[in-house]
Symmetry: C2
Subunit: 115 residues, 2 copies
Amino acid sequence: MQSINDDTCPSFEGTLELIGRRWTGSVVQAAARGARRFGEYRAMIDGISDRLLSQRLKELEAAGLIDRTVVPSTPVQILYQLTAEGQALVVALQPLSQWSLRRSGSRVTKEVPVG
Amino acid sequence: MQSINDDTCPSFEGTLELIGRRWTGSVVQAAARGARRFGEYRAMIDGISDRLLSQRLKELEAAGLIDRTVVPSTPVQILYQLTAEGQALVVALQPLSQWSLRRSGSRVTKEVPVG
DNA sequence: CTGAATCCAATAGGATACTG
DNA sequence: CAGTATCCTATTGGATTCAG
């Protein structure tokens, strides 16, 4: 049996460490639920600071999961939206989300946010 | 709907922060692949230190995902195995694992159409 | 073999204030 | 509105040593 850190699992660990940082899950979920502007994210994620929100958005953008667009209106609008990869991530995260919900005792009848 | 930090998503964030710590994904995967004794985990996870392996196992045990059993043989054996919850987690993590693999360009066992 | 203890460096995150 | 800059503390993780 070879080491599990050969070439396949580092990517998995990397993914976990990316989305395991504080607030990141919430930011991704906010994006999945339609947040686009900075203030929308901030309003949807209770307790997050500007600094961390900015940082998380940058990390997700660097990872190719969120797309930052500058709309030349007046005033300028900046939009953060999930890329195709980001949307695929949201889908891939759903079983884990369900698992978390069941564990925490909440009942999740049937409503699944995205998909 | 309500704020995403109402009562449902904290559990999700908590889960992400638990398995997002360094090595935790590897430890869970090692368990899923049959590791049971401390030394087996250590051998399967290249680069992890005793201290961190011990810490991760404790965290997973505290979360109810891994079960620690002392077998009174000579010398005493200590077994770390996934609980039912832990096994459910492994299953719930599979789509995320697949997503990571596709992203990193690795091939999945079965061919995945690119388009 | 299975850890616990200690020390240290790096990073993460919270609070606050300020800017184009 | 959409961030940046700073400061400061807490947490993390790596390395090494010791022990039952």
